[in-house]
Symmetry: C2
Subunit: 452 residues, 2 copies
């Protein structure tokens, strides 16, 4: 089988230069569209454009939806509205087509839709464009198979055949009433392996509660529901129970991956989704904001220490433990907030029980604070032999761990309450606040103990 190694990429690049369209199409046809997309991402923009135009529409469509969003937008925008319309109606599900459309300007969007010949496809797309991309409506597709509960089984099978023609994989057959409200499911297995030609759908369908979501449901909640109940496909309803579409697990896997990457990057101080092969300027832009916040925090810290300049001149050893105090505050704060952020994300967070969370966090903090303070006091006692300093460092370390734990727990809860992504609280934000907090505690306690 054709492999995407360096040698073959060079052969294909040459084929592009020589305009060997047939060779290119025949070669790429052997690959999965996700692999063709990976190949295009390794080419120059013009080469990628060439490939997309040369490939049959059905393949080009599947390849486009696998591309990085940025790359795809550039490529799609370089096509004419008519070309986009032709590609979009071919062989890809309506949810993917809507994603591509959503990135176009309003004018181009309307042009593309006017070029779509099948009125039903066009209206499905227009419908999907209305939903917020972070909701169930934003990731659902219009392609599903449904049968009316009152149909005879042979009639239902005929209707299903018609509907199945435009669907790649049949996961579930939905049973609806006359008002298109979801009332149950029909098992493909049952249909295939039993002789039920004389009955009606009502006789053989499964009427036990089908898991479903409202079209306005947040897409991360959709992911949690599908993961919890091990679902491959999930029907989407409006508030009257009318079936609007279905969400398949592959789209939810994408949502989960993006979500996990974003949380991880936020925790690492990267403010927008970047990858290691993005452009230098894009990576810089994603990283600079947190560094600058760190700068401001550092300047603040310098002002706070400045207040205690005399204390440092008198006891320069006070300066030795500044990094220890600041770093521990940051570490503890990040740990605490990470646990809250994660339980918020998993919906395992019991918002009513804030007092219980804080009291548990406090107990964890007390144990950690006790162990760390003892460690540092013992070190100071044996190696620094300055009892004032030892007391100052271990007492303030104790206070820092307690305060940073409570801050780390409360801040993401507060952010969440004000509908701000609590994941923002982890990473440099909380580190910076706790650095400052730690220094204030350290020098205040030092001031008292050294009597300055």
């Amino acid at each position: 089988m054709f492999q995407l190694n360096k040698e073959n990429i060079d052969i294909l690049k040459e084929a592009i230069v020589n305009g060997q369209d047939n060779f290119i199409t025949e070669t790429l046809k052997e690959l999965h569209h996700a692999d063709i997309a990976e190949f295009i991402e390794q080419l120059d923009f013009e080469e990628g454009q060439y490939i997309v135009k040369v490939l049959p529409h059905s393949i080009a469509a599947s390849v486009l939806i696998e591309l990085d969003e940025e790359e795809r937008d550039r490529l799609v925008n370089s096509l004419t509205s008519k070309e986009i319309a032709k590609i979009l109606v071919e062989n890809i599900d309506s949810d993917d087509a809507a994603d591509v459309l959503a990135e176009l300007t309003t004018q181009k969007k309307e042009e593309v839709i006017s070029f779509i010949e099948d009125a039903e496809q066009a209206s499905d797309l227009l419908d999907l464009l209305n939903y917020d991309e972070d909701t169930a409506g934003g990731i659902m597709a219009k392609e599903y198979i449904s049968v009316n509960i009152n149909w005879a089984v042979p009639h239902a099978i005929r209707e299903m055949r018609k509907q199945a023609e435009e669907i790649n994989e049949v996961y579930t057959i939905y049973v609806v009433d006359d008002k298109n409200r979801l009332v149950g499911t029909l098992s493909l297995k049952k249909l295939l392996f039993s002789n039920s030609l004389r009955s009606t759908v009502a006789d053989i369908y499964n009427d036990s509660q089908v898991k479903s979501v409202l079209v306005t449901e947040d897409n991360e909640d959709v992911a949690n529901i599908m993961a919890k109940y091990d679902l491959v496909v999930l029907p989407v309803l409006d508030e009257n129970g009318v079936l609007l579409g279905r969400i398949t697990i592959d789209d939810v896997v994408d949502v989960m991956q993006e979500e996990a990457e974003r949380d991880y990057q936020l925790a690492s101080g990267i403010s927008q989704s970047v990858e290691s092969d993005d452009k230098v300027w894009r990576i810089t832009r994603a990283r600079l904001p947190w560094l600058l916040i760190g700068m401001v925090g550092g300047v603040f810290s310098s002002r706070i220490i400045g207040v205690y300049e005399d204390a440092i001149t008198a006891n320069p050893q006070m300066a030795f433990f500044i990094p220890l105090i600041a770093a521990t505050g940051g570490n503890v704060g990040v740990q605490s907030s990470a646990i809250v952020v994660q339980s918020l994300a998993n919906n395992s967070f019991d918002a009513e029980n804030i007092r219980g969370k804080l009291s548990k966090e406090l107990r964890v903090a007390l144990i950690n604070a006790f162990i760390c303070s003892t460690f540092i006091f013992t070190y100071d006692y044996f190696f620094v032999r300055d009892s004032n300093l030892g007391a100052t460092v271990s007492l303030s370390l104790f206070a820092v761990i307690i305060c940073a734990s409570l801050f780390g727990t409360l801040i993401p809860m507060l952010l969440n309450k004000f509908k701000i992504d609590p994941a923002l609280a982890t990473g440099p934000f909380i580190t910076t606040i706790n650095d400052i907090l730690g220094l204030i505690l350290y020098f205040s306690i030092g001031g008292i103990l050294f009597g300055s």
Copy 2:
């Protein structure tokens, strides 16, 4: 429908006390097994045990596999081998049954298996127990439908019916040759919607390359493959191409979630998977190791600063910017390593091109270093008015950003090369190293500029 609110939980708790077994079973039967599991997690251990024994085996089995691993192990270990055997053979897939078995002692494992009456089920389970839990073999199940390529279609349908009885959901029908080697798939849709009773499997099967994995493949790679190619089910083969089992997307979703949580927690300095409702001691144990590493790092820092005690006595303002230097080193290092860790996890990392990665990272670092140093130099110029200090801080900040970037990029690469999880490199580890590095640079440069 029955809701799991506080009121109903109290009603059920009372029913347990009063031994109203029928009431409990009838009430819980209405719930999804994932919800019953959630309910059990809110009970005392003895209450949970009671529920598991009261429920019909088929429901108890599904509930057990949805429980937290810790809770499940305790419950399973409180059952007799005979009870476990009865529960395990009921209605759950072999992969889940093997997961439960794997946690038992060798002796109990053997006892349980000796109680399983169906010899094939017993041998399937024994077989599955042989695979490492982090491989494709560790998450695959033995339940799949396969037909021989030479069978006539009616015969194939009869065989499929037999096999389908013990399988909850039919995703794909595999076509194998006489040596049980996978040669293709059969579409359920095609079988259902076409009249092919006179043909053989060979006439109607799909022989295009089926995506599959080796039984020894790492389970994170399995997840990447299923996500990349939007697969719902993936066949598992041995090195001769013989079909051994299949992996379904719900198991892979679990792998992905665990993986994402672990990376996030490692980046936040939490060393083992914990949740906010775990016991205090468990949370403490997960958090303490990194805090102690931070302590050791802090003590190291204090020794380094101690070397420059005279410099600080002469210029106490040097101490003011210790937190700024240390924090920036940490922030930059975490950002760099997070990007490398993530591209390693996504397999988008091009290991051959290390020099290219470093040179790009260097360019990003130069821009960030230039902007941050200018910021801090301007601040010092206008507000601190000490040109030596301003030069020291901004020069060493520049050096710290460059070094921390390179360290942050190289360390996860090195860990990965030595087969250590590169995610370990983010979080407190890299912060601590960069804290120390930053201080050495800061005081060395300060020493030169202040001429001490």
